[in-house]
Amino acid sequence: MMYKTIDKKMLFSYLEEIKDPEVPVLSIIDLGIVRDIVLHDDEVEVFITPTYSGCPAMDMIATEIRVELATLGFKKVIITQTISPPWTTDWMSDEGKRKLKAYGIAAPDKRFVIPADGVECPLCNSTDTKLMSAFSSTACKSLYQCNDCKEPFDYFKCH
């Protein structure tokens, strides 16, 4: 019966527990994937938006949201995918950007809407860095190498 005492704001903080399976340091709230939550008694509808059209993590994220909300006692959980307005890295929280850097991924940077040399290295903060490939281990990142510390790193693209 726990759901009776839960409001929308609390639900957002519960969903902080769910991480992006591909960047496990970021929650789906940090990423701005959860667009809205609508409560009606023991029913809840969560609106989520994919980062990229082909983001393979969306099914897993939807499943985890279902599990989390069922645990809280909701009888009916509806997950609705919306694609308009399209997701943008502008929706990523500052906290999210800080966590990304600490994890070794350069955060989206407005000066590099188009990935180019010079994105700040998340490991040594050098800006003497080189774009290796606009595409990297997941759709949302580009691959870089730092000319100072020589480490390769990912840059979370502005999108």
Binding site: S53, G54, I83, S84, P86, W87, I114, A134, S137, L143
Partner: protein, 261 residues
């Protein structure tokens, strides 16, 4: 009821699905690791776009089934259509993809040249489509154009790198142009359902031609004279290649109906 919207959505879905399938054949075979990852990322973007189009087409078909819309000549009963049934259970003649995307990959040069021709076209198309009166097509296009921007940049860079590269790479690009050019005319030859949707292919053709000339100039590649253009894909008349792709793509669902991951 007029089926133009359904047919047009299926055309967009089929085209992105088949190109995704083709590009994914490079998985594990790319010239170097970074480029293997790039082409498979592009493949994934296209697959995501095609899922959005198929889901929408399924919704339209299910909504219109009471009005006896005849969408599937062979599949007959498309009642309860889904993104999976549309991708896995339609036959070759029902696919409306562009011929360009079903052609064999050839070498790396041919694959990147095809991506270049297609992505330049898709970008201009999505620019128009995001203004469409149909809200869902507009939303899918507005989402996807961000991804296409990357595909355009990546494929343009490769055309320049190979065209203006070594003698060998230049020769291979000439060969690729020879193989692919006659399939580019279809991009701009409107099918009935495109005309009905109000897509201005003439405007796209003009801009596309300008882009191709600019990149080919930088790549020191000749722009072919317009000659014979092969048509048919939009109407379901395909090269022999599509049958092989569908055989592989649809094998599991046809052998083990309703199987799930």
């Amino acid at each position: 009821m007029d089926n133009s919207l359904i047919n047009y959505t299926l055309h967009l879905a089929d085209t992105t699905l088949i190109l995704s399938q083709r590009n994914s054949e490079w998985c594990g075979h790319g010239p170097i690791l970074e480029q293997d990852i790039a082409i498979t990322n592009i493949s994934l973007d296209l697959l995501g776009q095609s899922r959005n189009f198929y889901q929408y087409a399924a919704q339209l078909i299910n909504f219109s089934k009471h009005s006896e819309a005849k969408v599937s000549p062979s599949g007959g009963d498309l009642e309860g259509a889904s993104e999976d049934s549309l991708a896995y259970l339609r036959t070759e003649r029902e696919f409306k993809n562009l011929l360009l995307v079903e052609l064999q990959n050839g070498d790396w040069g041919q694959t990147v040249l095809r991506q270049f021709f297609f992505s330049q076209f898709q970008y201009l198309l999505f620019e128009q489509l995001q203004q469409s009166k149909d809200e869902q097509l507009a939303a899918i296009a507005a989402k996807a154009i961000k991804e296409t921007t990357y595909h355009v940049r990546w494929s343009s860079e490769w055309v320049i790198r190979l065209g203006d590269g070594t003698d060998e790479s230049h020769q291979r690009m000439l060969h690729a142009i020879d193989e692919l050019w006659r399939y580019t005319g279809e991009l701009f030859e409107a099918a009935e359902y495109e005309t009905a949707m109000g897509i201005d292919l003439a405007a796209i053709k003009q801009k596309w031609t300008e882009k191709v000339i600019a990149v080919f100039d930088e790549a020191t590649l000749p722009v072919p004279e317009n000659s014979f253009m092969q048509l048919g894909g939009k109407k379901g008349v395909h090269t022999e290649q599509l049958g092989y792709i569908l055989t592989e793509l649809q094998y599991m669902q046809r052998t083990y109906p309703n199987s799930n991951w």
